[in-house]
């Protein structure tokens, strides 16, 4: 490049720094996930108010498919349970709170790679939720219908009866917020978060498992954490 003037003095360290950073950054595609996990676990030693003040949303990212988020009105909200049941049910919010209550602490994993550890959920086990409806012998699966159209997803009844699956109405000792699916959402810690239908308003008991919203778009139906979706 004769028109670019004389050879500059000094050493080309800028491009070296650039290449080293790009190289190191790209390797983090392999180890960055675990490093982030360790970092987020290490914040657990901080007092709760400080953790809340860290502006990373306590790890949550809110996904919705058809905003704005559904609004919960305790006066009008109903949860219908129908399909292959002997006695279809319509529950109010108070009815839901009057059922036998369960609590658990479990980790939440999103298929896109982030996790929130040690979420405290409060809610109702599906065995207790379905008891009054009396599912028929042909019942095989539960289809969860969100107030956020057209979001649906399904669990087999076996999956729904795993000991840490529930319909949650509280999170970290507070009623579910609007962003987290108020007033009730499915919690299935052994599967990725897209199985956890938020803003639940209807459960249809069916004899077959159907594809949910994301499964129609290529995600696995049995979304076992660490054992599905190529992960």
């Amino acid at each position: 490049m004769t028109d670019d003037g004389p050879e500059p003095e000094g050493r080309p360290l800028g491009r070296r720094a650039f290449l080293v950073m790009v190289g190191a950054g790209l390797t983090s595609l392999a180890w960055g996930g675990s490093a982030l996990d360790v970092a987020s676990k290490s914040t657990l030693v901080l007092p709760e108010p400080i953790r809340r003040a860290i502006p990373v949303g306590e790890g949550w990212r809110i996904y919705a498919v058809n905003p704005p988020y559904p609004r919960f009105d305790p006066a009008t909200w109903r949860l219908r349970i129908d399909g292959l049941v002997a006695r279809p049910q319509t529950l109010t919010y108070d009815d839901l709170l009057a059922l036998p209550q369960a609590a658990q602490t479990s980790d939440f994993h999103c298929v896109t790679g982030w996790s929130v550890d040690d979420v405290r959920w409060g809610g109702v086990r599906f065995r207790d939720l379905l008891a009054a409806a009396e599912p028929l012998p042909s019942a095989r699966a539960l289809k969860f219908v969100s107030a956020e159209r057209p979001y649906v997803d399904t669990l087999t009844i076996r999956q729904a009866l795993t000991p840490d699956a529930m319909l949650a109405h509280s999170m970290d000792d507070r009623p579910l917020t609007r962003a987290h699916g108020a007033p009730a959402r499915v919690v299935m810690p052994r599967m990725y978060g897209y199985k956890g239908v938020k803003w639940l308003e209807r459960i249809v008991v069916t004899d077959r498992v159907a594809d949910g919203f994301w499964e129609q778009r290529g995600y696995d139906r049995d979304a076992w954490v660490g054992g599905s979706n190529g992960l």
Binding site: M1, D3, D4, G5, P8, E9, G10, R11, P12, L13, G14, R15, A17, F18, M21, V22, G25, L26, S28, L29, A30, W31, G32, G33, S34, A35, L36, P55, V56, G57, W60, R61, I62, Y63, A64, V65, P67, P68, Y69, V111, T112, G113, W114, R178, A179, G218, N229, G230, L231
Partner: protein, 234 residues
């Protein structure tokens, strides 16, 4: 001998365009990205698909603009800028060790280091962002560290930009140099003593082939932005 206050050219139009394209695109993607990232903001702007579409369109516009600058801008200037940023003299290394009396060229050593890091971040943003997008479509593209890389690159970039803006505001001639192209000669002599201001190399006239390529790139960028937006808006 010229008057000390006489303005001398530090950045030509191509350099300034490159700088402000980066700045504008970064701020647009930071704003939309934070809405996608922080639940409290996501709740205020609950139209997630729209925000995501804007984020992707900003990315497409940014990359298209970079390609157009490379094609239609003053390529001699771009080569000179890259060389100025790349080479560190012994005085630069002293300057980095906080000996700020070491005479500096057109860019001081901090600016050179900052440029290298920002260039690397740009590459990492593009790679991790593309992987995030592809991973939504095909599980083969889902890598365990993609989100971590995109997030950490954002935090690093925000810290660096905050420092960059703070320094620009405390050194008004530097800021005005990037806005209008010129800096006062006496300011340059004080802060960039090793710089021998030379007029920017003349801009070669882009040939027909390069203009045709630029039109193709612009059309491809526009089409890409429209497709990304349509896809994100579902």
């Amino acid at each position: 001998m010229v008057s000390d206050a006489l303005p001398i050219v530090r950045f030509d139009r191509t350099e300034r365009t490159l700088h402000w394209v980066h700045a504008g695109a970064f701020l647009a993607m930071l704003a939309t990205g934070l809405v996608l990232y922080l639940p409290m903001l996501a709740q205020v702007f609950s139209d997630r698909p729209l925000v995501k579409a804007l984020h992707l369109v900003a990315a497409a516009a940014w990359l298209t603009a970079l390609a157009l600058i490379a094609l239609l801008g003053n390529r001699r200037t771009l080569r000179r800028t890259r060389r100025d940023l790349d080479y560190f003299t012994a005085d630069d290394l002293r300057w980095l060790r906080r000996q700020h009396d070491a005479p500096q060229g057109r860019f001081n050593a901090g600016q050179k280091a900052h440029a290298s890091v920002q260039a690397a971040l740009a590459v990492l943003f593009v790679v991790s962002g593309a992987l995030l997008w592809l991973g939504e479509r095909n599980t083969a593209f889902r890598l365990p560290g993609t989100i971590a890389l995109h997030d950490v690159a954002m935090f690093v970039a925000v810290v660096l930009i905050a420092g960059h803006v703070a320094m620009a505001l405390s050194q008004r001639p530097a800021l005005e140099g990037m806005m209008y192209g010129t800096v006062p000669a006496d300011w340059a002599a004080e802060h960039h003593a090793a710089w021998t201001p030379a007029p920017p190399p003349p801009r070669g006239v882009p040939g027909l082939g390069r203009i045709a390529l630029a039109i193709v790139v612009a059309a491809a960028g526009l089409a890409g932005a429209v497709l990304l937006a349509a896809d994100a808006l579902g």
